[in-house]
Every structure is written in structure tokens, then in C-alpha cells.
Amino acid sequence: MEQLMADLKKQIIEALNLKHLKPENIGDDQPLFGDGLGLDSIDALELIVLLQQNYKVKIENPQDGPTIFHSVKSIAEYIRANQTA
């Protein structure tokens, strides 16, 4: 889980071009949207693509998006729960 979260932080910085951040600047539970990391709706689409490309995981119900993308930890948990072996 720790390794997955570390990988995710690097991939999020790369995919969203967050050059002003380092992986260690992103907390496991830190909110990604709103007052947290300040991501927006286009970033949410980029994250959906990231999960699909890197982990073969799809978001089946768009309404689950806010819960899944709340933090790096919630994304990692969703990947663990939905990634086929």
C-alpha cells in the first residue's frame, strides 16, 4: 500500500504537471480537490485516464468520483479493491 501511494504521488505530479510539488509534499490523506491540492474538474478527467492506463481500473459509477479521488489514500484503496489479479 505504501509503495502504491508513493507511485501514485509521482504519477499524479507527472500527469498533472505539478512541477512545484514533490511526492513528499502530498499527504496520504490530504484532499486533492478544493482547498487541498487545488485540483479541478479537468484534473479529475486526467486522473480517470491515469487509473485506466496505469492500473487498468475503470470508474464504473461517476458519482463515486468524489469519494475515490478524495486523496491519494482513497485512490490507492480503490485500486486495491478493483484491480483484477
Binding site: 500527469a15 512541477k19 479537468i42 486526467e46 485516464v49 492506463q53
Partner: protein, 356 residues
């Protein structure tokens, strides 16, 4: 027509055309067949969160627009009109590459959204919260001229309007590689300052230049835009007739043109035709060139527009530009551009200095 004034200008080009330095006081030499822009520090206009999603052409375009608006002392224009031959090439390249790599599934939204030609004008409007007329013209090497024509017609109808109009194009690795296969650029890298003296073929260029136009004169050193005219695959007679019409409408004679800024590009054939024609048509005028400074690209005339306006404002012609000097001060300046011998355009600017 009533005079339409340039009240603000912003230009990011392969020369250092931004900042407070005198006009082309330092000429940047590029030893390449590809002239990249000398770019400013964009953090003075955008915060990192805005910058992270912006491709280079977007940064250049928005920054040039911001400089022009600041010089015109306005925050939000009434209209934004953009000319671009190639649009946002970098994001287009990323989008298409990802489409292939991902088997047309799971496409990244950012390069897709920002791959369209009108992204530049849209982003300026979004950042300024400008809900006025917003148009992008993309007609190859007439993109800037058509944008200018639209702006002139708008201001002619309503002189109080303040219209932001410009031309933007970028080089990317992919676009340069593709264009190079046509054999239009210099085969070997060499100094851009030797463009007109050695070799054959032009140099690739890019740039972003925006201007604020208005019917209201804001200072005593204003530059007026008299006319714009375009000609596609025109013969010499058609160009002569077009020039006669343009000068007649401007109530000028050929001898009133102090300076002709030529769009020669380093191609021996088209350059000779243009030079011979110009010397025949304008025997009393000084002449100069600009594409060794800007490179060749679809909206290179926007660089010429900026250069001509600055020369009129400062009443000086930089030595890097001068080709044939008659000693005349640049008050009426004609830009005579061409693009690979198929596209020709005239743009006429004049000094509106109160003292004459």
C-alpha cells in the same frame, strides 16, 4: 475611412521584443534553420497552477496579449480576434500521439481541449473574464491579415471599441520535422543574419504578437492603420492594381510611401521577384526586411506589423532591418509580405504624430 489607431502592442518573437529596451537594440543571432522565441519569465503574468496546463504557444499568446492591454491601459477589451495558421500544434501532437498509443481509448483531456486553434483567444477571454466577440481566423498565411480586417471593420463601425487583435504560431519538433521534408528550409544550420546573403531556403519561425486597436487616439505618438489587402496567387498586374486601389483609398501617392518593409524570406526565386517589383514600384522609398529576425511562418506579418508600428513611433529604422536607405523618416510605412510566392499582402501604417 476614419483613422484607426494602435494603442497597445505586445510581441514575443525570436528577438527580444518585450521589455523596455530600445527597438532591436540587441539582435539575437540563431545558428539554426529554426528560430525559437526569446521568451520572458511567464510567472509575472500567471501563477504556477495556471502555467502547469498551458503549452508554450498559449503562454506566448496570453503574455503578448497582456503586454498589449497593459500598454493600452485597459484591462478587458471589447473583442478578441486571433489569427493562427497552425494553432496549438504542441497539444495537437500530444493528443494525436496519445490517440495512437492508447488505441483510441482513454485520451488525456488537457491536450485534446487545448488542441483547437481557438484555444489562444479563448484562454485570453477566460483569464480576463471577457465575454465580448471572440473570433479566430485560420486561413494559412492570411490568418493575421483577416483578423486585422475584421478588427478594422469593427472599429470603423464603432470607433469607441477597443479590440485586441493578433497573430500566433509556434514551431514544435514534430511540425518542424514534417515541414523540413518539403525542403523549404536551409539544408544546413547557419546564422539567421546571413539569410539574405548565403544559401537557399528560408528559416522556420514562430511568434505571438497582439495589438489593441481603437478609433480613439490615446496619445500624440499614435500609429494609424490605413489599410490591409490580400492577394492569392496574384500576377504582377493584379498586385499593381491592388496597390493602386489601396493608395487611392488612403489618398496617397506611391511617392508618399517612405518605407517598404518586405517579406523576402531567403528563397532566391521569390525574393528576386519581390525585390525587382518593389524597386520598380517604389523608386523613392527606403526598403527593409524582417524575416531574418522573425523567421518564416504563417503569421510573420504580425511581427512586421509590430516592427513597422514601432519604427513609426520611434522615427527610426534599425540597421538590422534596412536594405536600401533613402534617408526618409518612416511616416507612411507599407508592409509588403509574401509567403512562398503564393500569398501576397499589403498593410499600410502611418504616423499620426500631432506635430506631423
Amino acid at each position: 475611412m476614419a483613422t484607426i489607431f494602435i494603442t497597445g502592442m505586445g510581441n514575443i518573437s525570436p528577438q527580444k521584443t518585450w521589455g523596455d529596451a530600445p527597438l532591436l537594440s540587441e539582435v539575437t543571432e540563431h545558428n539554426s534553420e529554426r528560430l525559437a522565441c526569446v521568451e520572458p519569465d511567464y510567472t509575472q503574468w500567471f501563477d504556477p497552477r495556471q502555467l502547469r496546463r498551458m503549452s508554450r504557444v498559449l503562454k506566448m499568446g496570453v503574455a503578448a496579449g497582456s503586454i498589449a492591454l497593459k500598454e493600452a491601459n485597459i484591462t478587458v477589451p471589447d473583442a478578441i480576434i486571433t489569427g493562427t495558421g497552425y494553432g496549438c500544434l504542441e497539444d495537437t501532437g500530444i493528443f494525436l500521439t496519445k490517440m495512437v498509443e492508447n488505441n483510441e481509448e482513454a485520451l488525456n483531456p488537457t491536450p485534446f481541449i487545448q488542441s483547437t486553434h481557438n484555444t489562444i483567444g479563448s484562454l485570453i477571454a477566460l483569464m480576463l473574464q471577457c465575454q465580448g466577440y471572440n473570433q479566430t481566423y485560420t486561413q494559412g498565411a492570411f490568418s493575421f491579415e483577416n483578423s486585422l480586417l475584421d478588427a478594422l471593420m469593427m472599429v470603423k463601425e464603432e470607433p469607441a471599441l477597443k479590440v485586441l487583435v493578433g497573430g500566433v504560431d509556434e514551431i514544435t519538433d514534430l511540425s518542424h520535422t514534417i515541414q523540413k521534408r518539403f525542403g523549404i528550409f536551409r539544408a544546413q544550420p547557419e546564422s539567421n543574419l546571413n539569410l539574405f546573403t548565403t544559401g537557399r531556403g528560408t528559416v522556420n519561425g514562430e511568434g505571438a504578437a497582439y495589438f489593441v486597436l481603437s478609433g480613439e487616439k490615446v496619445n500624440d505618438n499614435a500609429v494609424g492603420v490605413e489599410a490591409v489587402a490580400t492577394f492569392y496567387k496574384a500576377d504582377e498586374q493584379t498586385l499593381k492594381q491592388g496597390l493602386d486601389d489601396l493608395l487611392r483609398d488612403a489618398k496617397l501617392q506611391v511617392s508618399d510611401i517612405d518605407f517598404v518593409l518586405l517579406g523576402t524570406s531567403g528563397n532566391a526565386g521569390t525574393d528576386k521577384t519581390l525585390l525587382d517589383y518593389t524597386l520598380k514600384m517604389f523608386p523613392e522609398s527606403s526598403t527593409g526586411v524582417f524575416k531574418h529576425l522573425s523567421g518564416e511562418h504563417p503569421v510573420a506579418s504580425s511581427f512586421a506589423f509590430w516592427l513597422a508600428a514601432r519604427m513609426i513611433q520611434e522615427q527610426t529604422i534599425p540597421s538590422a532591418v534596412m536594405l536600401h536607405d533613402t534617408g526618409r523618416k518612416p511616416k507612411n510605412v507599407l508592409i509588403f509580405n509574401q509567403y512562398f510566392g503564393t500569398h501576397h499582402a499589403f498593410i499600410l501604417l502611418k504616423s499620426c504624430r500631432a506635430s506631423g
